[in-house]
């Protein structure tokens, strides 16, 4: 677990969003999410499938699928509103100050274009670089992401590279213009554990070198604990708990976080015993429950929970939770 | 109206007009004997090519009379019957044969599969017209044989789709498992494969339906369609085109109906495709 770099805490956040709302066909998928990321820090946005974490990321970079649209909230990049920018202005921002990498590295590269050219594409749009300069920078970037023999690799097609290698290429593509924020959407989910470790380490190294902030979207609590400074836990379109990784993991203040942490088999836990499971299933977008959205699965739920959604409230230094009963968690759920 | 939003989702209102056109045509075809004002084959050689609205011997020719003095409206109503039946039956026959052969070819593979798919290539590589003429020459002419000709020349399209789709499905775990557990071939094909390829097949069906109406018209143009005096839209149109400047109605009305029919089928077919391929 990384400590939060102290000197950046007071500054304007690199990226912040308040009350972000995203709808698909009239149904909210992201329902009033607020986040802020400081320079040089890694914020993990964690949650199960369908909780809206990927939509949040796509909303921030304004690349939502056709069916979805931003229906409210503000997004600021270094204090500057970007949610109202035109498509053209966003194009200038993307790849430059904001970059993103995705879950399936092989599918995220154009199968018909050599990878070197795809990296160069990120570079060649605005800058007045000669082709030789472009080439040098591409090869240099490939080296920095740990690819051997970059001259040869640059000429190869995605299908000739392994998944891990493709993710390195994606990272090179994203980092080549030294963005101030990298959004990584499940960057290691499709990879083997040993490769996952390498990629996470690479991302950490690059973050330290460049000082970029990282928004890491993941469902894997292990990944969060190993590579993030802060964590925001999402459930059914809302952030239910946020705080430093150390605080949240040591003392979760939301029943969902608490139960999620207990339900995962651990390398040091008991074997062949029933895991403390969370009952029920993640609700479908179309029928999210009223009140606190976790209440149907929550052992602490009361009528109050069913009637009224709890706001995100501070429970300690930069630790917030959205639960009416956060004080009961330590005693009743751990 | 609880079903309404669901209906709107499956069939947006802008398409209702096409459904209405199709429904009217199908209805006209079904009810032809009830709604046709005249006998479609009754000629009046002294009342040929009269413009729409002509009244003659107590008969009003609403859409005019044709080159033999027959009531064009009645012929068009009965023509709907012929054109739609020919198209529907030929699509049904070729669709069934093609789908079955395609599934079997994919499922059995080996030399049977090769033979079937080479047969597909063969039939596809011979010009359809050539097969049609030769088939008519051998089978003799007529309504049933037109359907046979169309079915004979069109089944490979279904076979190709069914083949490709079946190959894709064959390796899905549930199919492999069922097969592995000892399910018989007919069981797997009918229970697991067919219900899951019917969507793409339906896309071909809608496209082919429009094409079959056109094909029948083309055969009529070449003199190989349904036998006179049986009216099909294609047959009326192909004689009517000789009178475009002197008796425009003989060609314009069947042309319009044919156009509306195929257009509706095409538009709805496109929609079916979008729904099947999950693009909406």
């Amino acid at each position: 677990m990384m400590p939060i770099p102290r000197e950046t805490q007071a500054q304007t956040p690199v990226l912040s969003c308040t009350d972000l709302r995203i709808e698909i066909g009239g149904n909210p998928v992201v329902d009033g999410t607020s986040l802020s990321i400081a320079a040089g820090e890694t914020l993990a946005l964690v949650g199960e499938s369908g909780c809206g974490k990927s939509m949040t990321a796509l909303g921030l970079i304004r690349l939502l699928p056709d069916a979805a649209h931003l229906s409210g909230g503000q997004i600021s990049l270094q204090g500057e509103r970007i949610d109202q920018l035109s498509e053209r202005q966003m194009n200038r921002l993307r790849g430059n100050r904001l970059a993103m990498i995705f879950q399936e590295p092989v599918a995220s590269l154009d199968p018909l274009m050599p990878v070197g050219r795809q990296i160069a594409e990120a570079l060649s749009r605005s800058d007045t670089l000669t082709s030789a300069e472009v080439r040098t920078r591409v090869l240099d970037m490939l080296t920095r992401v740990g690819i051997d023999r970059p001259e040869i690799r640059a000429r190869q097609y995605p299908f000739q590279l392994s998944g891990g290698m493709c993710q390195r290429v994606m990272i090179a593509m994203a980092m080549i213009r030294q963005p101030i924020l990298l959004i990584a959407d499940e960057p290691t989910t499709a990879l083997d554990v040993t490769i996952q470790k390498q990629i996470l380490e690479l991302m950490g190294d690059l973050r330290r070198e460049t000082g970029s902030a990282v928004l890491l979207i993941t469902h894997d609590m292990g990944v969060v604990s190993e590579s993030a400074n802060r964590v925001a836990v999402m459930y059914a379109g809302r952030i239910v708990e946020t705080g430093s990784v150390a605080q949240v993991f040591a003392r979760p203040r939301h029943p969902y976080t608490a139960m999620l942490l207990r339900t995962i088999p651990r390398l040091d836990g008991p074997r062949k015993q029933a895991l403390p499971a969370i009952a029920g299933a993640v609700p479908d977008i179309r029928d999210w429950p009223g009140g606190c959205r976790f209440h149907p699965r929550c052992p602490l739920a009361t009528d109050h929970c069913r009637a009224k959604a709890p706001p995100l409230a501070s429970v300690g230094a930069s630790h917030e939770t959205a639960c009416w009963h956060h004080d009961r968690i330590a005693t009743e759920l751990t | 109206m609880t079903g309404s939003p669901r209906l709107r989702r499956w069939l947006p209102p802008r398409l209702w007009i096409f459904v209405a056109i199709l429904a009217m045509m199908v209805l006209a075809a079904l009810l032809a004997p009830l709604i046709a004002p005249q006998n479609p084959e009754a000629q009046n050689l002294l009342g040929r090519q009269r413009p729409p609205g002509t009244e003659l011997r107590d008969i009003t020719y609403l859409l005019g009379s044709d080159e033999l003095g027959r009531d064009l409206l009645s012929r068009l109503i009965y023509g709907a019957r012929v054109s739609l039946t020919v198209a529907a039956l030929s699509v049904l026959v070729s669709g069934t044969i093609g789908t079955a052969l395609g599934m079997i070819a994919a499922w059995l593979g080996g030399w049977i599969g090769t033979i079937i798919m080479r047969l597909v290539d063969i039939v596809l590589s011979v010009p359809a017209i050539l097969l049609a003429i030769i088939t008519v020459a051998i089978l003799g002419p007529g309504f049933v044989n037109v359907i046979a000709v169309l079915a004979f020349t069109r089944w490979p399209r279904y076979a190709r789709v069914a083949y490709g789709q079946t190959l894709g499905l064959m390796n899905l775990p549930y199919v492999r498992l069922s097969r592995f557990m000892g399910a018989s071939t007919p069981r797997v094909l009918l229970r697991h494969i067919l219900p899951n390829i019917i969507g793409p097949i339906m896309v071909v069906v809608t496209l082919e339906f429009g094409l079959m109406v056109l094909f029948e018209a083309g055969l009529s143009f070449l003199g190989l369609g349904v036998q006179p005096p049986m009216p099909s839209w294609g047959a009326i149109l192909s004689t009517g085109r000789n009178y475009v400047t002197t008796a425009w109605w003989i060609a314009v009305f069947p042309g319009l109906f044919l156009f509306l029919l195929i257009l509706s089928v095409n538009v709805l077919g496109d929609h079916v495709r979008d729904v099947v391929e999950g693009r909406r």
Partner: protein
């Protein structure tokens, strides 16, 4: 002691690589290259490894869905290669499989009850009425409401679909179930439910599992014995506790080190 339900002896599965105009076989992919293990009744053997290690192919070979190139697979001590067709059919009832992706494991056009009853139908077990009752019982067993039977797969969540798949696997009262990454595609909160279900079924029905997974924490939780595979070969094999406490092989240690700790 009793005989193993499944006994794998020096299993090899090679896939030919063809090349040249005549399609001559020039080489083989050694997908599985000499694997041996025993599965005792009521026990769980896990096969772990990264993608391409041959763990799934091993599972298919045990199941009989993949012909071995070499080696033997003994079911209740009898070599499957020498069985008659009807004997093979009978062994089929004793081994079942649960796939990784519950979506492609279910026919989207078949109701849950029909899917569950399919193995019974194919094997001609019972009357239609018997089968209906059996399906109800199976739904109870995997923790689905009885009303679920009439629904189509798309009406279920991922976890529920996996329960249907498990119910289908249990329809013929197998002694062993091969779980091929059976919880990998599920959400964290659902994964634990399904793992619990597996454990419950094991204690209730005395099932044995061959548990194929890449997730070491899951494997540690559920397995009695572990095979670590890499590139078709078993690099390390032994009781779960031994593997996790004193891994001998370098690759096992690498794998363990790569697992993110909570």
């Amino acid at each position: 002691m009793s005989t193993p339900i499944v006994s794998v002896r020096e299993l090899k599965v090679h896939f030919p690589i063809r090349s040249g105009i005549m399609g001559r076989v020039t080489d083989h992919v050694r997908a599985v290259d000499g694997v041996s293990f025993d599965l005792m009744p009521g026990r769980t053997v896990a096969i772990v490894g990264e993608s391409g290690s041959g763990k799934s192919t091993t599972g298919y070979a045990v199941m009989g869905m993949q012909e071995p190139t070499e080696g033997q697979i003994l079911i209740d001590g009898r070599d499957r290669a020498r069985m008659s067709r009807s004997e093979r059919m009978a062994t089929m009832r004793r081994l079942q499989i649960v796939f990784q992706d519950p979506v492609s494991a279910l026919n989207p056009r078949m109701s849950a009850a029909d899917s569950i009853a399919e193995p019974l139908q194919i094997h001609g077990v019972g009357t239609a009425r018997d089968r209906r009752i059996r399906v109800q019982k199976l739904l109870d067993l995997v923790g689905l409401p009885r009303s679920a039977g009439g629904k189509l797969p798309r009406e279920f969540s991922g976890g529920q679909k996996q329960r249907i798949v498990i119910a289908r696997a249990l329809a013929l009262d197998p002694q062993a179930v091969i779980c091929d990454e059976a919880v990998s595609a599920l959400d964290v909160s659902i994964q634990s439910q399904i793992l619990n279900l597996f454990l419950d079924l094991q204690s209730e029905l005395g099932l044995a599992y061959i548990f194929i997974s890449h997730d070491l924490s899951v494997v540690r939780h559920i397995a009695d014995d572990i095979l670590v595979m890499r590139a078709g070969k078993v690099v390390e094999q032994g009781p779960t506790d031994d593997i996790f406490s004193t891994a001998r092989h370098e690759y096992t240690r690498q794998l363990l080190a790569a697992v993110p700790r909570l």
